[in-house]
């Protein structure tokens, strides 16, 4: 990565950040109005991660789906594989907020947890 441009998401300013590798292979961030921008830029360029929220099917519950999320960030480039891994998953009701639906997704150490309560019907 030589140069990269990003929009900071730290606050509504949305500063345009310019990220470069300097002579000592250190990341240099310019364009940020505050420290949040610098921290964000470095993370986005070295190890961009995201929380993934999606739904999976439910069996025997009041609703046909349950909303779930990764209980921690996962690397951004694993998002679609994560979703693919959940494609055929069906979970049995009852489900409570926080229940682990899928452990250690894609070997990341991150679990998919339920974010909604689904009662049995």
């Amino acid at each position: 990565m030589e140069k990269r441009e990003l929009t900071c998401i730290g606050c509504p300013m949305g500063c345009t950040l310019l990220i470069e590798l300097d002579e000592n292979d250190q990341i240099r961030v310019t364009g940020n109005a505050c420290k949040i921008g610098e921290t964000y830029a470095i993370k986005e360029c070295t190890n961009p991660t995201r929380i993934v929220t999606t739904t999976v099917k439910v069996r025997g519950g009041k609703h046909p789906t349950v909303s779930i999320k990764t209980d921690k960030d996962i690397p951004k480039d694993k998002i679609f594989d994560c979703i693919k891994a959940l494609k055929d998953l069906t979970v049995d009701a009852p489900i409570n907020v926080g229940d682990i639906i899928y452990e250690n997704i894609l070997g990341t150490g991150v679990n998919m947890v339920a974010t909604r309560k689904i009662e049995r019907c």
């Binding site: 739904t55 099917k57 789906t65 679609f80 979703i83 693919k84 959940l86 494609k87």
Partner: protein, 478 residues
């Protein structure tokens, strides 16, 4: 072999069907769409004209005023919404007064009762929102408004209950003349009939020209409309027409029978008989031209727009009667304004022709009365209490904007010729016709179609054929 096959389940086809169901006739209505009332009948001004517009020497002129007077009894028998609100033809220029008087005279010749010329001030006293540009108006107290869906569906249901069959998604592909009638081919079947009635709307020419050498051409004339929120529905109580000016035939501003405000139509001849799209030019045009009639139109209160095609032929009049060279082939074609108004009378006319030819026995079981879907919102508190006790589904509101209950939707699906798609439910119950335009109720309405008719949710359509709402389940294409 059928006695009668009617092609087209619009208001004219259904009116004819209802009339012939008074007799012992083996009858069938073939409709190419998924439901009745799918063509011009669903997209028009919803006006029951007083009858002063039509030229006296035309069929339109002869039928209009008489047909208008049928509506009170018909609305009671068939339980559809009709209101005689009265209409005003607005005149904007003193120089055009003679045209106004001419209309009055024409109306009187046509048998329109109680026509009056009012001054601009008298008009504004009657309707305070009428613009200051108006100098005079022709007041026709017998003008009315109707729900064209209610009307068509009521006629169809009554016909069906009294013995007429209906086949949908049954476009007529070919007609062969037989010794004693006709052989009709649709994609699913071959049907033989003694009499064939052409009520095929904008496709009426195609049907006629399949068998008759007396050809005619129908040019679809598109008319676009804007429909406004009920909050502004009382902008006018009377239907406001415009005296034709140099700019052409005017646009109307009218309350609808459900309390919305309707504005339109323009008039653009097109080629594509299936083109019911609205256009930017058309929608802007009707708003501009309406500004003549009323002081201001609350543009921010529009909830939807639509367009309809009138079946217009070079004859400039209804084409009703047996084709001169094809006995048994009866046209009820080229029906444009005042088609909706004249439909019940056209039904009688065509039925008389059939009666004359086939001399059928009366249908002793004919029941002229039809009870529509109980509209929960119109019930008194006591009646509401009672109906929920008997039918708990009436205790759950599905369409918030129009206060339509689950019970009404279930009824709409399960009645004769019941709703099979979302537009069918909308036209029978008004669920989805309100200000949020089905945003809130669509998933619940689909669930009811699924549970009542066993249609998989991914097969449910807006109006049949390929108009599906959903494409599949989540992650299916991953």
């Amino acid at each position: 072999m059928y006695d009668v096959v009617i092609v087209g389940a619009g208001v004219v086809g259904c009116a004819i069907a209802r009339e012939i169901s008074r007799y012992k006739l083996k009858s069938l209505v073939l409709e190419k769409e998924n439901d009745v009332c799918s063509g011009t009948s669903k997209a028009n001004s919803a006006i029951i004209h007083a009858g002063h517009d039509a030229l006296p020497e035309t069929l339109k002129g002869k039928l209009n005023a008489k047909a208008n007077l049928m509506f009170d009894k018909l609305a009671e028998e068939l339980d559809f919404h009709f209101r005689r609100n009265g209409s005003l033809v607005l005149c904007f220029d003193e120089k055009d007064m003679d045209k106004l008087y001419e209309l009055k005279k024409r109306g009187e010749t046509n048998g329109v009762p109680n026509l009056q010329i009012l001054s601009g001030d008298e008009v504004r006293k009657m309707e305070p929102n009428v613009s200051d540009e108006v100098v005079a108006a022709l007041y026709a107290p017998t003008g009315g408004i109707v729900c064209p869906f209610n009307l068509t569906i009521a006629l169809a249901e009554n016909a069906n209950v009294n013995g007429v069959e209906f086949n949908f998604n049954s476009e007529v592909l070919s007609i062969t003349k037989l010794e004693d009638g006709f052989e009709i081919k649709t994609k699913d079947k071959t049907i033989k009939t003694k009499i064939l009635v052409n009520a095929a709307g904008v496709y009426g020419d195609k049907l006629n020209n399949m068998v008759s050498e007396h050809k005619f051409t129908i040019i679809p004339r598109k008319g676009e409309y804007n429909l406004f929120d009920k909050y502004v529905g009382n902008l006018t109580d009377k239907t406001l027409f415009q005296l034709p000016t140099k700019l052409g035939k005017g646009v109307l501003v009218t309350p609808t029978v459900d309390g919305n405000l309707l504005v339109g139509p323009n008039a653009v001849d097109i080629e594509d008989k299936d083109d019911v799209s609205t256009t930017r030019e058309g929608l802007d045009d009707i708003m501009e031209r309406t500004s003549l009639s009323v002081k201001s139109l609350p543009k921010g209160s529009i909830i939807t727009s639509f367009s309809g095609l009138r079946a217009r032929s070079e004859k400039d009049d209804f084409i009703i009667g047996e084709a001169p060279d094809v006995p048994g082939f009866i046209n009820a074609s080229s029906i444009e304004s005042p088609g909706l108004t004249c439909a019940p009378l056209i039904g009688v006319m065509v039925s008389d022709i059939i009666k004359d030819k086939l001399k059928p026995q009366p249908n002793e079981n004919f029941n002229p009365k039809r009870k529509g879907i109980t509209r929960f919102n119109d019930l008194s508190l006591e009646e509401k209490k009672q109906v929920i006790k008997e039918r708990p589904e009436y205790g759950r509101i599905v369409c918030r904007c129009e206060s339509v209950t689950e019970g009404e939707i279930v009824d709409a699906i399960n009645r004769p010729l019941g709703a099979k798609d979302l537009d069918g439910i909308k036209r029978r119950t008004r669920a989805g016709a309100g200000r949020c335009q089905s945003g809130f109720c669509i998933s619940r309405t689909m669930e009811l179609l699924h549970s009542e008719l066993n249609i998989p949710p991914t097969e449910i359509t807006k109006f049949g054929k390929a108009s599906k709402i959903l494409v599949g389940t989540n992650k299916e294409s991953i």
